[in-house]
């Protein structure tokens, strides 16, 4: 599985469930922005590592929404304490997917330390409800669809490489307002029911 296929599989699976997507810094966010932009997406431009923290803050604030964090291995390793906080708060509406290419893929593919970190075991040890390791699109899709109540951790192993010339999200305040309006509409919808 490569990055393109992993992202496509994740986005096709989560679009159907109207989840909110928080994606990490670099090529992951840029690929999602160019190919799967939606008012349900939030891109983390700098502040590498914070996608899962932003996802947790949103998950506890909007318990009726399903929040999907699309992280990278090196970005998660930069903010590993966030996994402990997620395990501690145990948000049922949080799905934490890590696209793991074992490298700083958005830099020059310098090696990260994910191969010795056993992130899937760590997730269980700190309190996530379920964990998956997947290496192909079918297993990735199945994990997302069957995961149920969270917090769920999915480690998606991918190969290095892939396209790099994606455009960047630039109009950040507009993208923020767009997501907040979409969440507001959901609130009204939930209220009506």
């Amino acid at each position: 599985m490569n990055r393109e296929k992993a992202i496509k599989t994740i986005m096709m699976s989560v679009v159907a469930s109207e989840s909110v997507v928080i994606s990490t810094t670099g090529l992951i966010s840029r690929e999602i922005f160019e190919r799967f932009d939606s008012d349900r997406n939030f891109y983390v431009p700098g502040s590498m590592g914070l996608a899962s923290s932003i996802g947790l803050g949103l998950a506890v604030s909007c318990p009726k929404e399903r929040i999907v964090v699309i992280d990278g291995d090196a970005s998660l390793l930069m903010n590993l304490g966030s996994m402990v906080t997620i395990g501690n708060r145990h948000p049922v509406n949080l799905l934490h997917i890590v696209i793991d290419n074992g490298a700083y893929g958005s830099c020059s593919e310098e090696k990260s330390m994910s191969d010795s970190a056993h992130l899937d075991k760590l997730a269980i040890n700190v309190g996530y409800k379920k964990t998956y390791i997947v290496e192909n699109e079918k297993n990735l899709k199945d994990a997302i669809l069957e995961s149920g109540d969270g917090p769920v951790f999915v480690l998606a192993k991918i190969e290095l490489g892939g396209r790099r010339d994606f455009k960047r999200p630039l109009k950040l305040p507009e993208l923020k307002e767009r997501l907040m309006k979409s969440l507001e509409r959901d609130k009204e919808k939930n209220h009506d029911v």
């Binding site: 700098g46 502040s47 604030s61 402990v84 906080t85 993208l175 923020k176």
Partner: protein, 185 residues
């Protein structure tokens, strides 16, 4: 203050003791609608943190590191909450990139309550360099800050910071020096 009954145990054994100034700060924050708080503790902020711990109107989600607190507050803001982040100025240095590369470009108003260690007269040598650079750091990011002046009325000072923050949609800072709780200075 609306005290959550489940949290009474904490409030009965307050570690920090009462501070009328902390209570005044708390009142202004509640009046402004603050309902989400994250941060990493500093002894200088203990009464402020305890007020958050026992406040039922606030979702208090402590962090392991200040950067994490910044991310949590951003997520809460997207979810229509009004966040505050507390930390020591040492943590402001370690999370300054997150403020610069996430909070500023997305124009997210977050009030940071920061203890201002390393001021003249302090003996803890590890704080001196950050103390000397704190105001310069915030100023260099183009962000507003207020050093709480014990001679002026606290509520008025903080209200003006919050109003300014809402208008400009920028993170803003409240700096509290050691001894800020004292009634007479």
């Amino acid at each position: 203050m609306k005290v959550n009954k489940n949290k009474e145990k904490i409030s009965n054994t307050r570690r920090g003791g009462h501070s009328s100034k902390a209570d005044q700060i708390h009142e202004v924050l509640m009046e402004f609608g603050v309902n989400f708080v994250s941060g990493v503790p500093c002894g200088v902020l203990r009464q402020i943190i305890e007020n958050f711990e026992v406040e039922e109107r606030v979702l208090h989600l402590p962090a392991n590191r200040e950067s994490e607190a910044v991310g949590l507050a951003v997520g809460a803001y997207l979810g229509k909450r009004t966040p505050v982040v507390y930390m020591q100025n040492s943590g402001l240095f370690s999370s300054s990139n997150d403020i610069a590369s996430l909070v500023i470009p997305y124009k997210i108003p977050i009030l940071f309550i920061v203890s201002y260690r390393g001021c003249p007269g302090e003996d803890a040598i590890q704080h001196l360099a950050t103390g000397q650079a704190t105001e310069t750091l915030i100023r260099s990011l183009g962000l507003p800050f207020l050093i709480l002046d014990s001679k002026k009325e606290i509520k008025t000072q903080i209200r003006s910071v919050l109003e300014d923050m809402s208008r400009k949609k920028l993170p803003s800072f409240l700096l509290l020096k050691r001894g800020w709780q004292d009634e007479h200075e």
